[in-house]
């Protein structure tokens, strides 16, 4: 579905991604793992067009994703839940969600989509008039995911959804991701929480200093000595 071929990405003169290739197949959950500063967030940002690769290609089906302007990516069914949720802090929960359906073709259906998201997160309906900045971390993550779901994504990319959240909330978010995947949404999950991420993923890539150092299906990686040592602390 998404096929990344040999991309190189720079911040100014500094190269942060080196010859990265990745495949995300339709209907799967793919995890992108690695420690802080490995280039996971940069990879997501490059897929969603906020950054452009200096060389290499990103294919989405047979379309060149890296040639599409960043604000048009979402209309192709790719939705990105950014690191640190990045809500609109002075907008209400409902306004935040509605921005997820800003795209012209979605705006007409925003009321139905809103009901769908409130169905998943009843808590957000209670808080609909509260400002994004005043919510708890877990609620903010719900809004961030809800906002992404407003756009009826085919692919949902999440950047560290577990960051700073209590284990119980993390568990419920990962359960939700599994359900969304069963409904047919392809998921690309960036995580530092390797254990939990591998549990719900089909396959995974491990990054280090801007390169993929390991890839394979999730079960194999769980058993991989390297992963155990580096990330699971075993």
């Amino acid at each position: 579905m998404i096929n990344i071929r040999d991309i190189n990405v720079y911040y100014g003169d500094v190269q942060v991604i080196h010859n990265l290739s990745m495949k995300i197949e339709e209907g799967k959950t793919v995890a992108l793992l690695g420690s802080n500063g490995a280039g996971k967030t940069t990879t997501l940002k490059t897929i969603s067009g906020l950054l452009s690769p200096k060389s290499g290609e990103i294919f989405y089906g047979d379309k060149r994703l890296d040639k599409i302007p960043p604000n048009m990516i979402i209309s192709h069914g790719i939705s990105h839940v950014p690191e640190g949720r990045r809500l609109f802090p002075q907008m209400t929960v409902e306004e935040n969600l509605l921005m997820g359906a800003f795209e012209k073709s979605l705006w007409g259906k925003r009321k139905e989509k809103l009901e769908y998201v409130y169905g998943i997160f009843p808590r957000l309906k209670e808080r609909r008039l509260q400002h994004g900045g005043t919510l708890s971390g877990g609620e903010q993550q719900m809004v961030a995911i809800g906002r992404a779901l407003m756009s009826t994504p085919k692919i949902l990319m999440l950047d560290e959804p577990s960051l700073g959240l209590a284990p119980k909330i993390v568990e419920s978010i990962f359960e939700l991701l599994q359900n969304l995947n069963k409904e047919g949404i392809t998921i690309l999950l960036v995580e530092q929480n390797v254990n939990v991420a591998l549990e719900i993923s089909d396959s995974a890539y491990v990054m280090e200093t801007g390169k993929i150092v390991l890839e394979g299906n999730a079960e194999d990686l769980m058993d991989n000595v390297y992963v155990k040592q580096a990330y699971l602390g075993l």
Partner: protein, 289 residues
Amino acid sequence: MELLIQQILNGIIVGSMYALIASGLSLIWGTMKMLNLAHGEFYMLGGFFMFFLNVSAGINPFVSGIISIAIVFIAAVIVQRVVIHYLMEKPGWTESHLIATFGISVLLQNLALNIWGERFKNIPYYVDANIYIFGIGLSAQRILIFMVAVLVIVLFWGFLKYSRFGQALRATSQDRDSATLYGINTKLIYMIAFGVSAILATVAAIMLAPIYSVNPWMGSDLLLKALAVVIIGGLGSLVGAIVGGIGLGILEGLGIIVFSSEWQNVIAFSLLILVLWIRPSGLFGTKEW
């Protein structure tokens, strides 16, 4: 006593126009994090186009006003696209925009001076009557000014709060990357924001021109005042611009009773310094759009 109430009413009326001009400045700050030092020149352009359409061509004030607004909107969008747009993408934006907008301001002033001359031009009152409220006489022109200010501010607020585009504008000002991810063309938003801010200045120019006069420098004095207002009210805050504008208007009105009208700017900037001492972020300074 009557003089006191008269001056307070006058203060509210003129202050409502300060509020309009300051809202535009504040909108630009809120969305692009820039001070538009050429804001006064859009006000000046608005005044000149109104003069030519209404006085020279004899078109009725309402139609002239609409055409002036449209012209200045387009001019502002072009300025944004041709100058600001390129600077925003480059390093040094926090300083470069000040120099650039100051340059645009000087350029537009001198263009106006060379093309239209230095003679002060007058626009007659749009409505010629006096209205008495509780025994206090006010010209209908001033009442009209206030009504237009309220109408425009309500429309502007409604645009920001309820229109799809206004929501996108607020979203962009609060988190540009998130806005982009969710399909908002932030470059277009910046152009529109710049244009809308110029519209607010033009409306103020159209309404104030009959009271003051039209000349190439009419904008610089008002820009100074609008800057004082947005800093007093809190940069980037719409409520701050409105409260600050009307507050300053009233204070100036009262100041005229005590001092003379030459002291207006002294009052404005004393208040500014006072606010900066006590509350550096301005009265409503922490809220974003």
